[in-house]
């Protein structure tokens, strides 16, 4: 009697029906996981590429406006190695009297692979120089405005349990401001592994004034199934799946005086002849 009118299911029926329904469900979950994984990888790679392009643009833009910068080939020519843990560098390069505008002579570490003695986790100076930040004002007129500028690279010094968001990655910093004051952080680019001077690309005058240089910038993206730790350290072999992306960027020091003409200052010969560039203005890129 009890079982006669029973319209429910037996245990066997429940187990079988659940098992059958699990088949498409599991298949669907696998597809979903695959899609999510691919989306994460794509977003990670795009983020890395954005940072790589930003780093290239920062280096090119700011070095391109340097007005008096020389190549230096010693570890201490930029004022004493790594800056750690200071938040803001100081512009302490000597002002020389051979330039009418009394612009301090900037310096750039131009050794092959430079800086060759990275201090991991600290900010290592790539260059410290004066640039012209003068631009058009609202009346479409231009005048010079000189600012102290520093480029620093902080290599990664540890691994990270979080493998996909650039934690503990190498970072390029740009500092800028009044040369008499500590420079302020202006922009940065992350996800980097290394920045180095490409051997044989350096172009300087006989007086070591810079004409052009090419940097190789390396960024790193971590791929799917990254069970291991992210590791952006130079020369490391991460346990997680990864892919290094390289970009070579040639920088022409278009505003740099070359010191080859009879006159100095603004009339000095420059890489494009006696042409001088005011600041480049981009419509939607705040870091410029």
């Amino acid at each position: 009697m009890i079982y006669k009118n029973n319209k429910g299911m037996t245990l066997i029926e429940i187990i079988v029906s659940l098992g059958v329904s699990m088949i498409p469900l599991l298949a669907f979950i696998m597809i979903l996981n695959f899609v999510i994984e691919r989306i994460h990888v794509a977003m990670e790679q795009i983020s890395v590429e954005t940072n790589l392009a930003t780093a290239s643009q920062l280096i090119k833009t700011y070095l391109g406006q340097a007005v008096k910068v020389k190549c230096c080939r010693s570890a201490n020519c930029l004022g004493g190695g790594a800056l750690s843990p200071i938040p803001f560098p100081t512009f302490n390069l000597p002002v020389t009297a051979d330039e009418p505008m009394m612009v301090a002579e900037g310096r750039l570490d131009c050794r092959d692979g430079a800086p060759t003695n990275w201090t991991a986790g600290s900010q290592n100076a790539l260059g410290l120089f004066i640039r012209d930040a003068g631009t058009l004002n609202i009346t479409q007129q231009a005048a010079s405005l000189y600012q102290g500028t520093g480029l620093y690279f902080a290599p990664a010094n540890s691994t990270s349990a979080n493998s996909r968001i650039g934690h503990n990655s190498g970072t390029l910093f740009v500092y800028s401001g009044d040369p008499a004051q500590p420079l302020q952080e202006l922009a940065k680019a992350e996800h980097l592994v290394d920045i180095e001077v490409v051997p044989g690309t350096l172009e300087v005058t006989s007086n070591d004034y810079l004409v052009s240089i090419t940097y190789k910038i390396t960024a790193r993206a971590f791929g799917p199934n990254s069970s291991g730790q992210a590791d952006y350290q130079i020369g490391s072999a991460p346990t997680a799946n990864y892919k290094d992306i390289h970009s070579n960027v040639k920088v022409v020091f278009r505003n740099n005086r070359l010191g080859t003409s009879a006159t100095n200052g603004l009339t000095s010969e420059r890489p494009f002849g006696q042409i001088y560039f005011f600041k480049f203005l981009s419509p939607q890129a705040s870091f410029l």
Binding site: F28, I39, Q141, T263, L266, F272, I275, F278
Partner: protein, 246 residues
């Protein structure tokens, strides 16, 4: 009873929910990826424009004996050397400048103003509206290859943004100057540079040229007939006076 009548519906419900979830995820991610891709493109385009400006500056520097429309508007110039081969384009767009003796007289580079829809032009060029007299260098021309490379680059640059691209690169003179607070335009100290101001080293006023570019991938740049530079890349360069001719 509930279980009996809902047999199979559980898995269907899971599938439906999963589909909605995955669809939402893909849509959000696509939007995010698309936005970041545009960001990369703009950064790369910024770099391209900078190179264009450098090449344009170099081009201006190395050209000589250029024919310029006498008043910046009327063509041919008073002393034409390449005027016959730089003709008015369809649409009535007249040349403003040509480099006649840089390349052969038979195939000069013709520069037109920016008020031209590139889509209708048979040949893409760099467009240079000249509002005022244009001062060029008299130095012997030694970089013909650079000029050709520059102009080719301009062509490809204009075509880059999309298949039916419209775009322009404008050059215009800007001779009105204003001194910064630290510089007196009437008695400029060495190191002070202002467009249109006296040259502290002698040789005439400081001449500036403002270059602007407005790739069509940037909002507001779709209409190349617009003369506004609010949303365009701009850069002012100064050309050292002294030793220049027209």
């Amino acid at each position: 009873m509930i279980l009996k009548n809902s047999k199979g519906s559980t898995s269907i419900m899971f599938v439906l929910l999963g589909t909605i979830l995955m669809g939402t995820l893909i849509a959000v991610s696509y939007k995010n990826i698309s936005m970041r891709s545009k960001q990369i493109r703009k950064i790369k385009e910024t770099s391209n424009v900078q190179e264009v400006f450098e090449l344009a500056a170099k081009t201006i520097r190395t050209a000589r004996d250029t024919d310029v429309a006498a008043d910046g508007m009327n063509w041919p110039p008073a002393d034409p050397q390449c005027a016959n081969t730089c003709t008015t384009l369809s649409g009535g767009v007249a040349p403003r400048m040509c480099f006649s003796n840089v390349l052969s007289a038979a195939s000069p580079y013709c520069f037109y103003d920016s008020l031209l829809n590139v889509k209708n032009a048979s040949n893409h060029r760099i467009f240079i509206p000249l509002g005022d007299d244009f001062i060029l260098d008299e130095k012997p021309f030694v970089e013909t290859k650079s000029l050709i490379a520059a102009l080719n680059f301009f062509d490809s640059f204009i075509e880059l943004p999309k298949a039916n691209a419209t775009g322009s690169i404008n050059l215009r003179t800007d001779t009105a100057g204003q001194a910064p607070s630290a510089c007196n335009p009437n008695a400029p100290a060495p190191g002070c540079l202002t467009c249109g101001g006296p040259n502290p080293y002698g040789g005439g006023p400081v001449t500036c040229v403002t270059l602007s570019a407005c790739p069509t991938s940037y909002p507001g740049c779709e209409d190349i007939t617009s003369t506004t530079t609010k949303k365009a890349f701009t850069q002012t360069i100064f050309l050292l006076p002294g030793g220049y001719t027209r």
